[in-house]
């Protein structure tokens, strides 16, 4: 099934610069409907009222971290099937294991490039040109 590039994508990061970078990279990949949140609790509120096809989230944020957000999403019947990609500088194996156990769809270590983002998105959403 073809990937719907008109889907709403929620990006979550406490660094405004990183939000801007990811938004620009997504735009270049053809995804223009992008919303932003600066921590997990803000993201959760947006997810509960919006209709999102993908979440791309940082880990290290306050007050709610990306891992807590992931757990909340996976525990919510309405949200649990949304693909969730963690984009973080936390690169220890125990972090990856914890994220996997919490139900992460894929994991990108910062700094990353556009190709990595595209590859990981394709593995989660399906191939897109």
């Amino acid at each position: 099934m073809a990937v719907d590039k008109n889907m709403n994508v929620l990006i979550v990061d406490d660094y405004k610069t990183m939000l801007r970078i990811i938004r620009n990279l997504l735009k270049q990949l053809g995804f223009n409907n992008v919303d932003e949140a600066t921590d997990g609790s803000m993201a959760l509120q947006m997810l509960r009222v919006g209709n999102y096809g993908l979440i791309i989230s940082d880990w290290n944020m306050e007050p709610m971290t990306g891992l807590q957000l992931l757990r909340e999403v996976r525990a919510d019947a309405k949200l649990k099937s949304i693909p969730f990609i963690m984009v973080t500088a936390e690169s220890k194996s125990e972090n990856v294991i914890a994220a996997k156990e919490a139900g992460v769809s894929n994991y990108i270590v910062k700094p990353f490039n556009a190709e990595t983002l595209k590859t990981k998105m394709s593995s989660v959403l399906g191939d897109f040109a």
Partner: protein
Amino acid sequence: MAVKGVDRDLELRLDAIRREHGDTVGVEKIAEVVRAMLDTMTGDIDGGDLKLFREVESLADYIHAAKAEIAALRPGEIKNEFIASATDELDAIVGATEAATNEIMDSAEHLESLAPMMDAEVAERLTEITTRIFEACTFQDITGQRITKVVRMLKEIETRVESLVKAFGGEIEASAPRQEKAPVTDEDLLNGPQLPSGAADQAEIDRLLASFD
């Protein structure tokens, strides 16, 4: 020797110190208790006690020497000047790199907006170049996080130095000799770059220069 009597007296003194100072007790207070304990042992000590007495005495000397060395380091100065200044410098780095990154991205976005005006091949090449720029800008997030970690560590050192100063009491700052204010040398003038709060802008520099005319 009335051991129980000594223990009781010691307990009472320690309780009084705890009530007055909490868990942070000055070295002088500890020395006072040790002295009092030794006083109660006078005339009632055997060979073993004498050895213990010497050990305690050398311990007291060691504490006094350590106190003098720590005082010479001027821990209050480390906390109030060096650490505070280092944290401000690091905050300024984060602020400056963030501002520069946003400037770079502004320019990249402007470049990208020109793509529809170009032929397909050039537009594609331009998009590739702006993508590289966006990717390179992720450095700001990583350096920002690393600097935040360093600031956190500095704050931890600051807290520990503060506890040390508290444990020694005000005497530690007073006992360390203050250096005489030396005349300003050429090296003293090498302090740049200034933090934004303390920096003069070009207009202020021009005014200052003009004031010499």
